[in-house]
Symmetry: C2
Subunit: 227 residues, 2 copies
């Protein structure tokens, strides 16, 4: 069982936290595994929610689309992240793979049943739900109140917070500019111009479109928080 990348800055909250050996064994007994290639869907919006998932390796993207084709990316997901919280019987978003990924698949019914026997598991799910809500409220604030370049910094800070060390500020942007744009409520052109602006101001280096380095973390954070 992986789910805890090494050297993560903040301890990662997973469904496995604090489980005893018996609980872990039982959980593993109902857990399957699935591999996804880039672009492949884990599940689609409006399909029955039959399983929950934990990302083992790779990167996933959660998005919601309207029938007119407008798309909002709700989250980029990293190893350890729990996927599949829904308040009804269908997923109300689509999850797809940005990179080659592997996920643990846990049938929802068995998972819910196991939670009745393992209070700690239920508690973990509850806390994860709280974290997801907190993340989503941050996103509401960003989309409602921040300017384009501040939103880009908001994303850069989120991504850099997942990275090992304080010193190494090099970030791999696995997602496309379109994904970033749809996450931040902007267009690809505006995102691209925001990167150029941050580069021009010496706050970041752009080695290639998908590899950037943060040169002035303090300022980036300041812009990200809009403080």
């Amino acid at each position: 069982m992986v789910t805890q990348p090494p050297h993560i800055r903040q301890p990662l909250l997973t469904i496995y936290n604090g489980l005893d050996a018996v609980a872990v064994t039982t959980l593993e007994s109902i857990t399957g595994q699935r591999t996804l290639t880039p672009g492949e869907y884990l599940f689609l919006q409006h399909t029955p929610a039959k399983s929950v998932y934990v990302l083992e390796a790779g990167m996933l993207m959660m998005e919601r689309s309207s029938s007119t084709g407008r798309r909002q990316v709700m989250a980029f997901m990293h190893p350890g992240n729990y996927i599949g919280i829904t308040h009804n019987e269908h997923y109300d978003f689509t999850v797809s793979a940005l990179a080659k990924s592997t996920v643990y698949e846990i049938p929802l019914k068995a998972f819910v049943k196991l939670q009745d026997d393992v209070p700690q598991l239920k508690e973990n799910v509850r806390r994860i739900g709280g974290n997801i809500l907190a993340h989503t409220l941050d996103q509401v604030f960003a989309l409602g109140q921040k300017k384009a370049h501040e939103r880009v910094c908001f994303l850069l800070k989120q991504l850099s917070d997942r990275l090992p060390s304080e010193r190494c500020h090099s970030i791999e942007l696995i997602m496309t500019r379109q994904d970033i744009a749809d996450y931040l409520g902007l267009t690809i052109e505006t995102v691209s111009r925001a990167f150029s602006k941050l580069k021009r101001e010496g706050l970041i280096d752009v080695y290639s479109a998908h590899t950037i380095e943060i040169r002035d973390m303090a300022t980036i954070e300041e812009l990200a928080l809009a403080d």
Copy 2:
């Protein structure tokens, strides 16, 4: 015990749903009551989360402010709504009263303890959390993807969904234009112009700044969903 306004369109999910008489009595034994006048705070962002609340009557507003003074309204809250979900030991938002309101106050520690004895109560809280997340994801989509007048329709639909009948589309806007603007990520002028535009197009009537009537619900819904 109130919490269930009459004639609501969709059955309201409260913490009381499906509790047996004993559980209700126990819950009531630890429940206090508080009255708020317009503008009064229920609690402030960054203060210790000591209680959760259920709105009995009136209307509350949940907001988050940054140190630069930018403000995002996260929700307008109606009777029956549960207040105080937080993922850490401090509230990460402020809740204040828009109208004279009364709330049930439940000390967090006792509430958590009671949840261990009453699984249904825990289940209710879990489902309410899911609903709040769903609401917040809707808001992310609205702020990220919708135009100003569509966002206003989004709010109008949310408010009208709380109202008794299908026929009566008259809505009391208790909040100020500034509150609406901060909820939708716009300025008061843009909100005002959006109302004027909807009025000019015959979709709504504006009797006074705080009393409007929806004349063409189908179109309003269409704009609200951006479908």
